[in-house]
């Protein structure tokens, strides 16, 4: 049976009160051929359970009350996500979605545990919101995480960091285990892929931009690849060169690579 004959994987993009990046995320998923639906927080839980994968987009779920991601981590929708992750379904959290995944204990999931082991704390050194263009580099063997398995080793992806709480933080022994067990999926880098302290926009421990769980089916990434998924969103000269050329301006950009990799994983 070919992929086209097989049932297409259905991806649910979860919306909590305060989520604000669902449309861009939906378009990125649809652009790579995924059968994607927006799922609101009051959706029937059995319907939510029927999805093959989940994407938690960015925003300010529940207004970041208590901490970014803390209330959403206990939302009823997350019952389906927890069950799905335990069953091996793919779960991608972007920005606020990544914060939710760490607050829910689904990442980094050291030793397979679902427990709060790390968090995204306020940016260092000033604790202020930053919106800046960044590049992230794949820091694990691609197949360490199912969602990155379609990328090349050391792939560099453009994205927009847009957060106040994006600094990976944990106790020192936990950070050591996160590092040694290859949970840091992406690190910040420059446009050429050089990993430098200057490339880190938020003081994140280990220079981490994304962490995966032990099983590799959950990925929590802080910067937004879906906000650099088309040339008109991109930050370098390619956007200027495309001016006046609609098809070039609407061509996909580097950030789409992560969604293409997600689609490949779901087609397997």
């Amino acid at each position: 049976m070919s992929v086209s004959e097989a049932r297409r994987a259905r991806v649910g993009i979860l919306i909590f009160p305060g989520t604000n990046s669902e449309e861009e995320t939906l378009r990125a998923c649809q652009a790579v051929g995924l059968d994607t639906e927006l799922v609101h927080w009051n959706a029937d839980l059995d319907a939510v359970r029927s999805f093959d994968a989940y994407v938690l987009p960015g925003g300010f779920a529940y207004e970041d009350r208590v901490r970014a991601g803390a209330i959403a981590a206990h939302d009823r929708l997350m019952l389906a996500v927890r069950e799905g992750a335990a069953a091996g379904k793919l779960v991608l959290g972007i920005c606020n979605g990544a914060q939710v995944l760490l607050e829910s204990g689904l990442a980094p999931g050291l030793d397979g545990a679902v427990a709060v082991q790390a968090g995204f704390a306020k940016n260092a050194p000033h604790g202020k919101f930053r919106s800046t263009h960044v590049y992230v580099k794949l820091a694990i063997p691609p197949n360490r995480c199912a969602i990155t398995a379609g990328l090349s080793p050391g792939a560099v992806i453009p994205a927009w960091a847009s957060h106040c709480e994006g600094r990976l933080a944990a106790q020192l022994d936990v950070l050591d285990r996160i590092s040694r067990a290859n949970h840091v999926a992406f690190v910040y880098c420059d446009a050429s892929g050089n990993v430098t302290p200057e490339a880190v926009p938020n003081g994140s421990a280990l220079g981490a931009a994304a962490v995966t769980n032990q099983r590799g089916n959950v990925l929590a990434i802080m910067p937004h690849p879906e906000r650099d998924a088309w040339t008109f969103m991109h930050h370098d000269t390619s956007r200027e060169q495309a001016r006046g050329n609609a098809s070039a301006m609407l061509a996909t950009s580097g950030g789409i690579a992560l969604f293409e990799s997600l689609a490949k994983a779901l087609a397997r």
């Binding site: 009350r65 901490r67 803390a70 607050e103 709060v116 790390a118 704390a121 306020k122 000033h126």
Partner: protein, 158 residues
């Protein structure tokens, strides 16, 4: 010589954040009748400057708006019964030693002359039915289940 004062800023209007936290805690099995939240500033200062420092805090509308907040100087410097103080580790919640040495301790960008140290906490006050303070086990459970992420926060209870 310095003295330490705790300045508590709390909403006088309904606190949506506390209500959301209360509803979530109840759903997680932590039985509470009320949950109140306040920003708490533990300030180490020169006593001769105390009135000026409090006046400066009252003047900072980014932390205190008299239309919706109360501000009081607490006599205590540690959590009371039913209270949980949450502080960020390695973050902005403490002024630096370098700032103290330079006499440059600031809050919300405003210089606080006479202040040698300032620490910021979120103070959660938990009440059970009848209005009595929640017991230490309930407070600890609330911290563990929702109110404190030990990866980068520190919880202090009585």
């Amino acid at each position: 010589m310095t003295v330490t004062r705790c300045v508590e800023v709390a909403l006088t209007i309904p606190d949506n954040e506390a209500e959301t936290a209360l509803a979530t805690l109840r759903r997680l099995g932590v039985e509470l009748a009320q949950l109140r939240r306040a920003d708490l500033y533990r300030v180490e200062l020169n006593p001769a400057q105390e009135d000026a420092v409090i006046a400066t805090l009252r003047d900072l509308e980014t932390i205190y708006n008299p239309n919706k907040h109360s501000l009081r100087v607490r006599a205590d410097r540690k959590p009371q019964a039913g209270e949980l103080w949450v502080e960020e580790l390695h973050g902005e919640s403490r002024s630096s030693a370098a700032a103290a040495r330079a006499g440059q301790v600031r809050i919300a960008g405003r210089l606080l002359p006479g202040v040698t140290r300032i620490e910021r906490f979120t103070a959660w006050r938990m009440l059970e039915n009848g209005g009595e303070a929640a017991g230490p086990e309930v407070v600890a459970r609330a911290a563990q289940t929702l109110l404190c992420n030990p990866a980068f926060q520190k919880a202090t209870v009585r």
